[in-house]
């Protein structure tokens, strides 16, 4: 008869199978997906809610989505935005976000979007660390 720790160990083993970088890539493309793949449902849900919430509030504040790198600051902003993965790509395709920042709130919104991307990268790396066993 299987005991509770045995079940947990089995589930853990199942989640450890497959391509080692899958949680990293999935977590980057979709916030929280890396943790979901590793069956860390609670952590994944909280990460997804936080990153999606920050990105959505940034867009609602008329934040700008960086489209190109005209100077160094734009390049850094674009790198941050790209951290959002599919959120960034879909938003660009749908034409969301302001073209130019005209009010203070929009400037905050731009920063919200960039930071959401950076937080998503941290979350994706955390999923990778869980996958490789570097973190429990």
């Amino acid at each position: 008869m299987a005991t509770e720790p045995d079940k947990s160990a089995g589930a853990q083993k199942d989640s450890q199978q497959g391509y080692v970088y899958l949680p990293l890539i999935a977590g980057w493309l979709v916030p929280g997906a890396g943790h979901f793949l590793l069956r860390k449902w609670g952590r994944g849900a909280l990460l997804a809610a936080s990153i999606l919430g920050m990105f959505a509030i940034g867009l609602a504040m008329q934040g700008k989505l960086y489209a190109g790198a005209h100077d160094m600051l734009d390049l850094l902003g674009l790198a941050g935005d790209l951290g959002n993965g599919l959120l960034y790509i879909v938003s660009r395709v749908l034409g969301l976000g302001a073209d130019q920042v005209q009010v203070t709130t929009a400037d905050y919104g731009t920063k919200f979007i960039v930071v959401a991307g950076l937080l998503n990268v941290i979350a994706a790396v955390d999923a990778h660390n869980l996958r490789t066993g570097r973190k429990a």
């Binding site: 990460l47 509030i57 504040m61 008329q62 905050y108 937080l119 941290i122 955390d126 429990a136």
Partner: protein, 59 residues
């Protein structure tokens, strides 16, 4: 268009960032919660402190 006050924007930013920091930088749920609260307090507290410093400088 969503137009939060400056303080509301700080609180929202601190909330979301603290959740991610708490989950990713600590290993056990108890320590995650404690670290998240710590980060949130530091974010909001430092924003209030810097605001008062700027207010006093501007006078």
């Amino acid at each position: 268009m969503f137009r939060p006050s400056h303080f509301a924007a700080v609180v929202l930013f601190a909330l979301f960032a603290s959740v991610v920091f708490g989950i990713t930088q600590r290993e056990t749920p108890r320590r995650m919660i404690r670290y998240g609260i710590y980060c949130f307090a530091l974010f909001v507290g430092s924003a209030i402190l810097v605001s008062w410093v700027m207010f006093l400088i501007a006078r």
